[in-house]
């Protein structure tokens, strides 16, 4: 369903802040610049803070999709170190 080639996936539903961000950050650190990570996040506090923190780390969010009423799927382009 995604128009992007996804290199890795992370389901962070049910993971609380700031652990959801830390898990995404660690996963992105294992990946290489230019690769795509798909992350699924709960609506609410996680969606308020995680996308912002990921942007501040120098990565780019290229797509946001609502999966159901309470979750979002983000596609993150891994940035330069």
């Amino acid at each position: 369903m995604s128009e992007f080639h996804i290199d890795d996936r992370l389901d962070l539903r049910g993971v609380l802040c700031p652990m959801n961000f830390v898990k995404a950050k660690l996963k992105l650190e294992e990946m290489e610049s230019g690769q795509m990570l798909e992350v699924t996040l709960d609506d609410g506090e996680p969606m308020r803070s995680v996308p912002r923190s990921i942007k501040e780390e120098g990565h780019k969010i290229v797509s946001v999709q609502k999966t159901d009423a309470n979750a979002y799927r983000l596609v993150i382009l891994r940035g330069q170190d």
């Binding site: 609506d43 969606m47 996308p51 912002r52 501040e56 969010i61 946001v64 979002y72 983000l74």
Partner: protein
């Protein structure tokens, strides 16, 4: 005793007295400008240190600790307005304390009918909520206006980096609060609706797949800009929301929002103009808010805000977006 000896003794005594008088005058000046607050205990004072924006270097902290050990009782008190205070200091030690503070380029705070040390939150430099540099504005205000005599009563200024307003700008004689107006870059927006869910003011609604903003509801907090993962919502305009006429005390007053999107330079000029207005319009020992209650905030807006060419906030309707609730006894 030879008369010459007596004269010499008298001279010595006189010069000693002069010296003491000079020293006493110095103490008196320090007491007047504030920073030494009389305690319940005889001869003991609390030394209030000047900590604009609540910012202290580790050197200053060490100095405060050393002074508390040497001249106090080994404790400090963190005041409600971000100052470090050293209690239980004997007045005879004022000179020694002042000298020690001078060594680290520091001084005591102000008391009485003067501009007090301005307060601020962490601002935008390292606090992710911040939309404006409240620390820098606060330090600039402190450098220019700290200790200036008002001619009437105390004058408190605080600067908040965002509408969460931790520094209580509503309760200050003059308050500055960071604000940012958003604009949508429609070409980048994918219609994910995150900004709509983030907006607590319900100022955003979806229309034809894109968020549309009702400016009359927007309180310029910038949450929509911060949450947008695609940087489609951007800052169109930012600056300071100005609040005037607030106070705490036995009869607190919430301030009026009087101007929007004021720049740093305008904010500093506004402090000066407001001090002038306060000097000329206040009646005796009353706070700015009490003057507003007497002559009307509209006079202040007409005399100060409008001539400066600032974006004035004049009506209740314009203020409604910054609403505050509570018991106002009406």
């Amino acid at each position: 005793m030879a008369p010459n000896d007596e004269t010499a003794k008298l001279e010595a005594l006189r010069s000693g007295l002069k010296k003491e008088a000079r020293a006493l005058k110095l103490d008196f000046d320090q007491l007047k400008s504030g920073g030494f607050i009389k305690q319940t205990q005889k001869n003991l004072f609390t030394v209030r240190l000047r900590c604009p924006a609540g910012q202290l270097t580790s050197t200053q902290l060490r100095t405060a600790a050393e002074l508390a050990d040497k001249y106090g009782r080994g404790e400090v008190h963190i005041s409600v307005r971000q100052s470090v205070e050293i209690p239980y200091v004997h007045y005879q030690n004022f000179d020694a304390v002042t000298a020690a503070l001078k060594e680290v380029n520091w001084s005591v705070a102000s008391c009485g009918p003067r501009v007090r040390v301005p307060g601020a939150c962490a601002g935008c430099t390292y606090n992710p909520n911040g939309v404006a540099d409240s620390q820098r504005l606060c330090l600039d205000i402190d450098r220019r206006f700290f200790g200036v005599a008002t001619g009437h009563h105390k004058f408190k200024i605080s600067a908040a980096g965002c509408p969460i307003d931790c520094p209580r700008s509503r309760g200050a004689d003059l308050g500055f609060q960071g604000e940012v107006s958003p604009r949508l870059e429609a070409a980048l927006c994918t219609g994910c609706e995150l900004c709509v869910t983030a907006c607590q003011e319900k100022a955003l609604t979806m229309a034809e797949g894109l968020p549309v903003r009702d400016d009359s509801k927007c309180n310029y907090c910038g949450d929509c800009i911060k949450i947008c993962p695609l940087d489609a919502m951007v800052a169109a305009r930012s600056g300071w929301l100005v609040r005037a006429g607030g106070k705490h005390g036995k009869h607190p007053l919430y301030s009026y929002e009087v101007a929007n999107f004021v720049s740093d330079e305008e904010a500093l000029a506004l402090v000066e103009k407001t001090m002038e207005w306060y000097k000329g319009n206040a009646d005796g020992r009353e706070r700015l808010g009490a003057t507003f209650a007497r002559v009307g905030v509209q006079k202040y807006i007409a005399d100060v805000i409008e001539p400066m060419g600032l974006q004035a906030i004049k009506t209740v309707e314009q203020r409604r977006r910054f609403w505050a609730g509570g018991n106002f006894y009406v």
